[in-house]
């Protein structure tokens, strides 16, 4: 594990000591190398996990997320080059340092053995993200967005600390490898209900659950492109990952306690998809679509069947790549037209045909077209929830239809039709942008050839 952590930590001094015209090249190239190293984690042995030390381990659930995190750093750096070109050198280096720091904390979070260490790093990831959103965001509303983001997550996770300390006291350890075997079923008393709530709320806010999702559209819209990418792709998955880990300790209370959250998720799924149909701001549309997809993951984790866990893991990876790609596409639009409103930049297919191809692929992935892993994830979750209760198929089916509707609405509004007069002279697509989209799409397409990597520990 140190073979990934130390190089990532050393990326920071490398950024500060690089020559001015080499900072982007150095950081992108070396972070790409680190991500290739992390690919070796995907070679998981059957049922068990790869244990590197007393502090770090990776199993089939955290390995894909780890690879996603390390893969995303070079992509974030490539995407940020344009909007940072006008900043001073120190600011650029500071921005890159924030991204690297965030990456480091995320790597350690996904591979932490001890739940307290997981918690500390979980909270620590908030700080670089907050700095990126509030310092480099676009509008004045970013201060508001940062506040929402910080306090929603903090409020949710403070009870988690108390709960973890209590569990440490009763169970004796919080080492994940041990609690797998030592977890005792807990009775459904009031205090255990509060324990359940304390454990789960942090992750519910992070996912986000429908009623607690207000921070997400704000944070996504106001964040700069790298902030949006890492938020959508990885930080949301922290919630899913945490939920999957901690539910081991909370049986069988989950069977009762899950009901209100299942209702919220199922209803919220349809609601946020419908909101997407009425959005005029492109980034806001993609943000709400994230909420909708994550609601599926919450449903899957709360049902706790093998198929649903497989679906949740696949969906997390698929959504990470797709959402991040959509944000990059929206940003390429924004950098040219300087406006995020969809109707002001229409008919881009005639002007930028190659980018239209990437838009098409991303939109098709978003609406879960076979044979992408988006479909595998969604399908497994739908099937598992159908077996849990037959009635959920109605809501799930509605959600799939509305997802298709808004993905195609977004595609058609931005790409088809006659282009508006004031976008006649936009720059053609840069190679950098095409590389960015290709690097997003390539893993997604390759994974559809071999999805068992991302299907999690149950496979």
């Amino acid at each position: 594990m140190l073979k990934i952590i130390i190089p990532t930590a050393m990326l920071m001094p490398m950024t500060w000591l690089s020559k001015p015209n080499m900072i982007w090249i150095n950081s992108t190239a070396y972070s790409l190398l680190i991500s290739l190293i992390s690919l070796s984690h995907l070679n998981q042995l059957g049922d068990n996990s790869l244990n590197f030390s007393l502090l770090f381990f990776s199993d089939s659930l955290s390995a894909p997320l780890l690879v996603l995190t390390t893969w995303l750093l070079p992509l974030m750096l490539v995407a940020s080059q344009s909007h940072l070109s006008k900043e001073t050198l120190t600011r650029k280096k500071l921005y890159i340092t924030m991204l690297i720091l965030l990456q480091l904390l995320l790597i350690m979070t996904f591979t932490a053995t001890e739940l307290i260490m997981f918690y500390i790093l979980f909270e620590a990831t908030l700080i670089p993200t907050l700095i990126i959103i509030t310092r480099w965001g676009n509008q004045t509303e970013r201060l508001n967005a940062g506040l929402y983001f910080l306090f929603y997550t903090l409020m949710g996770s403070l009870p988690l600390l108390v709960a973890l300390l209590y569990i440490q006291h009763t169970l004796g350890t919080l080492n994940f490898l041990i609690i797998q075997y030592w977890a005792k079923p807990i009775s459904t008393t009031w205090s255990n209900i509060f324990l359940w709530l304390a454990c789960m709320m942090a992750f519910m806010v992070k996912m986000p659950l429908y009623g607690l999702h207000l921070w997400l559209p704000k944070a996504h819209v106001e964040a700069p492109i790298a902030g949006s990418m890492v938020l959508a792709a990885v930080l949301l998955k922290l919630g899913g990952y945490g939920m999957m880990r901690i539910t081991i300790l909370l049986n069988p209370t989950t069977n009762q306690m899950a009901y209100p959250f299942m209702m919220l998720s199922l209803w919220g799924m349809v609601m946020t998809s419908s909101i997407c149909l009425r959005q005029t701001d492109l980034k806001s549309l993609i943000a709400y679509s994230s909420v909708s997809h994550m609601a599926l993951v919450i449903v899957a984790v709360l049902i706790q069947t093998p198929w649903s866990y497989m679906g949740a893991t696949a969906l997390m990876i698929a959504h990470g790549l797709t959402s991040s790609m959509l944000f990059c596409l929206a940003n390429s639009n924004y950098e040219r037209v300087h406006s995020r409103t969809m109707i002001l930049a229409r008919g881009l297919q005639t002007i930028l045909p190659l980018m239209a191809a990437w838009w098409l692929l991303a939109s098709l992935a978003n609406l879960a077209l076979p044979p992408t892993i988006n479909l595998i994830g969604e399908l497994f979750v739908v099937m598992a929830s159908f077996s849990w209760s037959n009635m959920t198929i109605i809501l799930m089916g509605t959600n799939i239809i509305i997802t298709a509707l808004y993905s195609l609405y977004m595609l058609i509004t931005t790409q088809r039709g006659k282009y508006t007069h004031h976008i006649k002279n936009i720059n053609p697509s840069f190679t950098r942008e095409n590389t960015l989209m290709a690097l997003h799409m390539l893993p997604l397409l390759l994974l559809s050839l071999n999805p068992k990597i991302v299907l999690g520990p149950i496979y």
Binding site: N138, H338, S339, L344, H421, K424
Partner: protein, 486 residues
């Protein structure tokens, strides 16, 4: 609840008058401290944009989809129609930048306020026809909840254009065009003129055209305030500042025939705050130039006209300031209530103002005697020498008039053909014009606003085809000239 009943009950009663409550205030908030505290709390709570460092509420937002330079009737009309015609409601963010919120030098409020369909260019007739329909139904278009309805005091008295022998043929032609577009105009011989308006001296008049419906004058201030109110309720942001700089990026592109053009797009507007060095860069996608008489200067800021003369790059926006005087006089023996807006063949015009024998009027000076547009001072000698004699000759009762007051206003004068410029610039591709109407901008404002909004949202004119009013005519030389215009 209690406060509202207090307001309703006490507004009329002696208690309400005694305490001097203003509209919207309550007894419990006499010195304004309550509302201040409430405002402070509201700004801190999530949901508002709170900057912990300093108060920035006077600055425009950091980005806006459309920036409209100029908050006169044309700018507000474009803002209104943009918000009205956008497909999903609330899609576009519009910012109106107006230098002077008292509108002390704006052409809109210093205008005489007439509206007519008697133009010779068919598009002008169509524009005025839609505008009068807008004004007639203004309370359906500009209704705001809880606010009183607008009364623009439209006097439908019509326009009376008089033509001498030489102009009679042109006038007949014009009337034919106007009738084709749907205006209701009738031609009168001198004898019919004398029968209808006995106070006119028809010497030298061969023909007259009289608008029978949809013509007259109205209160421009009311239209401006109505538009402002409605547009604010639709979510358009206002900013008090001056546009000092456009930051643009340009691309060298090839046309279909292979020649190279340099297309520019403005991506940032620097708005300078009044009496301060502070400016705010506003990131924008579209800029609308509705700056009226100062549109030429705004266009120069965008780089329009920087190039060798005779090329498209070197074609400037030919809109400049021209000062025009309006005089108000009192004449008890003057023509009565039925007086239309009379335009003499010499260029002098007058209309009735109010019900107390007051009249407004003036005259367009010739090119040689153009007054200096540096200030808005009135030249009373102009009235004595140039306005009064033809007036007294046409209406003998005006020999004994007494000038009460006078003011001066600017025309956004289009030196090319005295008609408006509408639509995008061919090279600075995201600057749209809505200016240059040379004295008839107020009466065509609603229709022009709609045309520009259609151009921005759809890409082409949908209802009234104003393609002959595009900027490119300045380069290609195709004038859209009015015959007989003040």
């Amino acid at each position: 609840m209690l406060r509202r009943t207090l307001l309703l009950g006490l507004c009329r009663g002696p208690l309400g008058r005694g305490l001097g409550t203003h509209r919207g205030g309550s007894i419990l908030d006499r010195d304004g401290k309550m509302s201040e505290i409430k405002k402070k709390i509201q700004s801190i709570l999530p949901g508002g944009d709170w900057n912990p460092l300093y108060d920035t509420s006077y600055l425009p937002p950091e980005s806006s989809d459309v920036v409209i330079v100029g908050g006169g009737v044309l700018g507000l009309s474009v803002a209104y129609w943009l918000k009205k015609l956008e497909k999903p409601r609330g899609a576009i963010r519009v910012l109106v930048v107006e230098r002077d919120h008292t509108y002390s030098r704006a052409s809109t409020v210093l205008s005489v306020g007439g509206i007519r369909q008697q133009f010779s260019v068919p598009e002008n007739v169509q524009l005025s026809l839609f505008s009068i329909d807008f004004l007639r139904n203004i309370n359906e278009y500009l209704a705001v909840a809880d606010d009183p309805p607008l009364d623009i005091q439209f006097n439908p008295s019509g326009y009376l254009l008089l033509a001498s022998e030489k102009g009679a043929a042109i006038m007949e032609n014009n009337v034919k065009v106007q009738r084709q577009e749907g205006a209701k105009v009738c031609l009168m011989s001198p004898e019919q003129l004398r029968n209808k308006f006995p106070w006119i001296n028809t010497e030298g008049v061969a023909l007259a055209s009289y608008g029978m419906e949809h013509e007259g004058w109205f209160d421009p201030w009311c239209l401006l305030q109505g538009l402002r109110r409605k547009v604010q309720s639709m979510g358009v942001l206002f900013c008090r500042g001056e546009v000092t700089r456009f930051v643009s990026s340009s691309n060298l592109m090839k046309t279909a025939s292979g020649e190279e053009v340099n297309l520019k797009r403005i991506h940032e507007v620097h708005v300078k705050i009044d009496q301060s060095l502070e400016y705010q860069p506003v990131e924008c996608a579209i800029v609308v130039n509705a700056a009226g008489a100062w549109s030429g200067q705004v266009a120069e800021l965008a780089g329009i006209g920087n190039g060798p003369p005779g090329t498209l790059q070197g074609t400037k926006l030919p809109v400049e300031l021209r000062k025009r005087y309006v005089y108000l006089w009192h004449c008890p023996q003057g023509p009565g209530l039925e007086t239309p807006f009379v335009i003499d063949p010499s260029g002098t015009y007058f209309r009735r103002e109010g019900l107390g024998h007051n009249y407004l009027g003036g005259c367009s000076p010739t090119e040689e005697e153009e007054p200096d547009p540096g200030n808005l001072e009135v030249d009373h000698d102009f009235f004595q020498d140039r306005v009064w004699p033809p007036l007294a000759q046409r209406v003998p009762a005006f020999e004994t008039l007494k000038v009460r007051s006078a003011w001066a206003g600017y025309y956004d004068y289009n030196t090319f053909d005295q008609n408006g410029v509408v639509g995008p610039h061919p090279l600075v591709i995201n600057m749209y014009f809505a200016t240059g109407f040379s004295g008839h901008g107020l009466q065509q404002a609603p229709a022009v606003g709609r045309a520009v909004a259609e151009m921005v949202l759809e890409g082409h004119f949908q209802t009234i085809n104003l393609s002959s009013f595009l900027f490119s005519r300045f380069y290609s030389g195709e004038k859209v000239q009015e015959h007989n215009i003040i």
